[in-house]
């Protein structure tokens, strides 16, 4: 049996605790509202990241296409395929980080990625380039490995030795 009943929050903590619960609930509600209608209050527009931590939009919409990212290096006028998964072995549940659409859509990150690829290869090429292979998923058929013979969609071409900038402007 319970030996002591201490359900009551200490007096000094009651208001802060209630405010914290109310603040959290409001934050979640605003984030949900933004997910639903895409319109955010004017004060939040310069800071889109305020929603990220409270947003729980997961696997919501139909996604019937799959994509992988491939790379090639230019040596002596010829393009040679690169084994990107060997050069960048880290994978998460969502795959290698460079396969995420927000990654390959960001020119700054792709520049960093391009330069890192140049330097991780055994011999530094003149250029590297990346493209996407996109295909329609077929029910009952695994999406691994990617089908062959698909038309590549170009992403980025990078000249090795070009300067890379971080988002804050500092050069690597």
């Amino acid at each position: 049996m319970p030996d002591r009943d201490e359900r009551t929050t200490p007096a000094w903590l009651r208001i802060p605790a209630l405010l914290l619960v109310a603040f959290t609930a409001t934050w979640f509600a605003l984030a949900y509202s933004f997910s639903l209608n895409g319109e955010q209050p004017s004060w939040a527009r310069p800071h889109p990241w305020v929603w990220w931590f409270a947003n729980w939009e997961m696997f919501t919409l139909l996604d019937d296409y799959a994509a992988v990212v491939r790379g090639e290096a230019l040596y002596d006028g010829g393009w040679v395929p690169i084994d990107l998964e060997a050069l960048f072995p880290t994978k998460w549940e969502s795959g290698p980080r460079y396969t995420r659409s927000d990654f390959y859509s960001d020119p700054t990150w792709m520049g960093t990625f391009g330069e890192a690829t140049c330097h991780r290869l055994d011999r530094v090429p003149e250029k590297v380039r990346f493209h996407r292979i996109v295909w329609k998923k077929q029910l009952g058929v695994s999406s691994r490995p990617a089908p062959t013979g698909m038309r590549p969609r170009p992403l980025t071409e990078w000249t090795c030795g070009d300067e890379v900038q971080r988002p804050q402007g500092e050069r690597l």
Binding site: M1, D3, R7, F53, W56, D63, A67, L139, V141
Partner: protein, 283 residues
């Protein structure tokens, strides 16, 4: 009822250890790679400090130590929790790119645990302040409610099972042999989708009712088991259910503990006679 917090503390610490410990194998490529430094939104650590392999390993070890303290409990629980929170976010900020839903979820649960009586012993014999549970209820209502209502309002193809079927074929999250097999069987994907959407949509309304609360959590347990079996979303499902003991209605939890204690007593000494039960009833 405090016993739920003890169970949540242990389950949460074990799941986070399972998720965090393997990250040590990616330190050189992800957390201490000076040629792959990224900033994103509030995660700007790499603009000022690029971890080396030794420093990243030290941060990883600090976070692990925090989790071990949380698992140990007692006076080590709260300091361990705070150490884990700070060190793990320092660690993830070094990588900056792929903060996943379960990273955010365990952070929110940790916030609840900060206010919970996780450092006390014999919690199953005590009632405690409900603030931490309120925080978790707000979190889970938002988690399930927002994703469920978005599915309901934005994507009608959830009702045919089509959305789930295609997610099962994601090149990385999905493509498990069993998921691939399920994906073209609408008689499986449709009811599984209904289960998911209905559970998520009604959760914020029904979790507060004492009679429905345990059945709702059981339905959630089945849903997360399904996700765990058919998709690779890391430890998301396990982290989500690690806080279920604290979400159990306090009076239901108390009843469970009392039944467990009676079961233990009868298991040790045989069924008590009517005479032996009388003093308890009188007290």
């Amino acid at each position: 009822m405090g016993g739920g917090w003890a169970a949540t503390r242990v389950a949460y610490a074990l799941v986070c250890l399972w998720a965090h410990v393997p990250r040590v194998t990616r330190i050189a490529d992800a957390y201490a790679a000076d040629d792959m430094r990224f900033s994103r939104g509030p995660l700007w650590l790499d603009d000022f400090w690029c971890m080396t392999v030794p420093s990243a390993t030290a941060v990883w070890a600090t976070a692990t130590t925090g989790l071990l303290g949380l698992l140990w409990g007692g006076r080590a629980a709260k300091p361990g929790l705070l150490t884990w929170l700070v060190a793990s976010w320092l660690f993830m900020s070094a990588e900056a790119l792929n903060i996943k839903a379960y990273d955010r979820l365990w952070t929110w649960i940790a916030l609840g645990l900060v206010f919970a009586p996780i450092g006390e012993r014999a919690l199953h014999t005590k009632w405690r302040s409900p603030v931490a549970r309120w925080l978790l209820l707000v979190l889970y209502c938002a988690l399930y409610g927002s994703t469920g209502w978005l599915k309901l309002l934005e994507e009608p193809r959830w009702w045919t099972g089509e959305v789930l079927a295609y997610h099962l074929l994601h090149p990385w999250f999905g493509s498990f042999p069993i998921g691939v097999w399920v994906s073209d069987k609408a008689w499986l994907t449709a009811p599984m989708s209904w289960w998911t959407v209905i559970f998520e949509v009604v959760f914020p309304f029904l979790v507060f009712f004492r009679r429905l609360n345990p059945w709702l959590l059981f339905a959630g347990l089945l849903m997360h088991f399904g996700i765990l079996s058919l998709m690779d979303v890391g430890p998301f499902s396990l982290i989500a259910v690690s806080a279920y003991p604290a979400l159990l209605h306090p009076e239901v939890a108390r009843g469970v503990w009392e039944r467990w204690e009676r079961f233990q007593a009868t298991g040790r000494t045989g069924a008590p006679s009517a005479g032996e039960q009388e003093p308890d009833a009188a007290r």
